[in-house]
Amino acid sequence: MAQKPPESATERVNSASKDEDSRRNIVKEVMKMAGGEKILECIQCGSCSGGCPTRFAMDHSPMQIIKMLNLGMKTEVLSSSTIWYCSTCHTCITRCPREVDFPTLAMSLRNEAIKQNLVKNTSAKFHESFFNIVCKYGKMYEPELFINVMDKSNMSGLRANANLGIRLLKKGKIRIRAPKTEQVPWVNGILEKTSERGSQ
């Protein structure tokens, strides 16, 4: 007996009945994102979350994020801290039996969260500031990043960080003066192009 070739996941989503349009549309949308191609493959085994080094800080485990996306809970996912705490160490995808690319998906979801103004997490500030500094100087300038990201109402935290800053300065790990790079427009050009691609 001939074996029917496996229907692709996209076909399965496309052949949906109208009842569940919104859920299926969300799944379809996520499957088009970089990293979201295989979310329907997930068997909820938990290999990703069991080995995740930043799991303790996340409000939902990576496995739950995939499940939520399959259920169409997009708003909850975009406002979760999980997508911001992924350190893209790739431990999860190395172990995932179904090749679900969570780190790449988390990146795509971050872009989406910013676009939809659903960021409820401070770490977004870090990413934004990092990006702006690189745009401005063409490379990293740590003191400005510290100033931007630090919680200015927390005095003891500020003091501790100041001490750390002095030690780093002494060792020459950071500098006071802002770096100057001639190729700033080039770097900006690269960043522009990559962000275009990311938003696609």
Binding site: Q3, C45, S49, P97
Partner: protein
Amino acid sequence: MSQKPSIGVFICHCGGNISDTVDVARVKDAITSIDNVRVAETFEYVCSNPGQEKIKKAINERGLDRVVVASCSPRMHLDTFRQVVKSAGMNPYFLEMVNIREQCSWVHDDKTKATDKAIALIHAAVKRCQFLEPLSPDKVKVTESVLVIGGGIAGINSALELAEKGYQVYIVEKTPTIGGHMSQLSKTFPTFDCSACILTPRMVSVSQHPKVKILTNSEIISLGGSAGNYEAKIRITPRYVDPKKCIACGVCSLKCPVTKPSVFEENLVLEKAIYRPFKQAIPNASVIDKELCLHFTKGGCGICEQFCKSGAIDFSQQEEFMDLKVGAIVASPGFSLMDPRLVSQYSFGLHPDIVTNIQFERLMLQGLHRPSNGEAPKKVAFILCVGSRKTAANGNAYCCKIGCMTAIKQALLLDKTVPDAEPWIFYTDVRAHGKGYEEFYAKAREHLTVFVRGRAAEVIPEGDKLTVVAEDTLLGKHVRESFDLVVLSPALMPSKVLNELASVLGVDLGPDGFLLEAHHKLKGVETKKEGIYVAGAAQGPKDIRETTMESMAAASKASTFLGKGEVTVSPEVACLIPNRCNLCGNCIEICPTKAISKGSNTVNIASVSCLGCGACVSICPKEALTLKNTTEEQLIAQIEGIVEGADPGPKIIAFTEKMTAYGSADLGGQSRRNYSPNIRIIRVPSVSRLGLKHILHAFAAGADGIIFVEGDDSFFKEDRVRELVIKFKKDLGKFGIPSLRLQSSTITLPQYEKMFALFDDFVERVKKMSPIPQEKRIEIKKYLEAT
């Protein structure tokens, strides 16, 4: 045929199914005017009793010697009508069927065009049937013996069953003893039967049965002959010990200076280079590992020979070959376990206390202990799905089917053996699908086994202990626990030699690498090759209960097959035309079932094995072969007949392979999917039957385009069809026919949508092309006449 045939054509209305779309009266008029047609009649239901009587009456009273029935698909009623003409004293192969329902009335709306098409189809059948030959199925006597490949529980069971029925059985086992994986197990789920207590008595019965011959250390290396009369060549590697003389005293092993890890004990224990696989081994005799024995590696030693009192050691033994003649084969070569090192996060091999589930079985039988320090393990982690249900690299997409129940059994055994034991099972989904299995799972929960739903993320050896990290997916919480012993359930995989074995036997492997059965539900123990059956875990992961049931089914199938005493051979096979063959060997190479072999000055065709695909016929440069019931004359007459009519074109011939592709077209007809009536289907055994000659004949006679459709499960896969079509396209160019007038596709049975879309696109494409000029057709015709 010197005498002119007299043909009767019977056109069915099918109660409006046909007559609503096809003007049967016009068809009747058109057919009556064809040469040699003595009778042309229409009838409400030709397949009904009065319809059948009508045919019989016409045969007897009007002296018909060919009958054409234009009605539904031959897949539906070919046998019915063959019986009808047979009962009227005619050879059943003098009947020809035309499918004007599934492939005409049901798929077209335009009455004029559908009627034109019906006339063309019947015209082709009438032309073809003038060349029909009387055929009768052949019978060949079978050899009443069976070859069983593999001496595990499946092989042992099949062998006993068949031997009891009176057949001579040969068991070919690759290792030095029969028994297989089951001999390594402690207790079996869900009843806690002692594995050895069930297995070893069967091993003894099979070894003592007068009708069973066990060949250990042996393998099948080639297979010839055909169903009912296979010829198997067996290679027997020497064991360097005469099993008849060896009394299994074990002195040789005591004295042997070389040690190695024991295969039977799963590398947990050391044994000597001369060893007995296990205490209940059959044959119960020692065997020498040639790779390690000093006699073979260094050319000296021979201590075992000195100490053996019965003189059983024989270093001079040589590899032997044996030819077996068997009627049927039961393939039960078993499975292998995946190497857990491929899932590197579980650290297998980095700490002695990380073991596989089969090693745990051996540990149970040795007296449960931790391999590192010999103490009893208290807290044990069972990690399931190691390499199973995994589509990523180094994985197996399927479920191993026994891992859950094995872990539950081992957890319960641990609970019984070690006081205050703490078994933890890390599972993905517990699959308790068999009789008594769910209850068994409940029992484990009652015994306070900890179930963590989550595939373990990693195992970290930390000093004396092993830390397992996982996510409890039900709680959404991280688990980090320390254990004394970690037991992995590696994926079940096809036995390492299965690939080679499948190619020797000429049977298929599925996408998972296991042997493929003929039908997933209805023919679970048969392979596509007649007389070869499959049993046990070689067909897919399964437990002992399923394996034994399957082995009985395979034995039963084999005995049903052999019990008939003879095999019927379809007469639609390839035949040699004497004095033409030049032994070029093309046909031998292309034959998918190896039915053709080299003879002294010509080739020999084993008609029992021939599938009648016709590939050899079209590839033969000397035209020395012919295919019964699809001879050159028959095929060309049909091709010409189908396009000769005066109806407006374009006329497109679709050659469809007779089983899958043709069946798919029928299926599309049943769902009333419309397509262009320009398409006329000719049923061929396989598109490999066709040569350039047929295509040229089609174009010369008036065809405007040709499509090849091969079934996906045929012996000739997509690339072979494509290769053929590319060759034809090149050749057609020489005759000034654009290559775009030729198209090919491969489809599976339910894919008629794909085929019909191709039909419609192709018709559109041909319509846009400028017509083939008449002079060109005449030119081709002249060329064909000249050759």
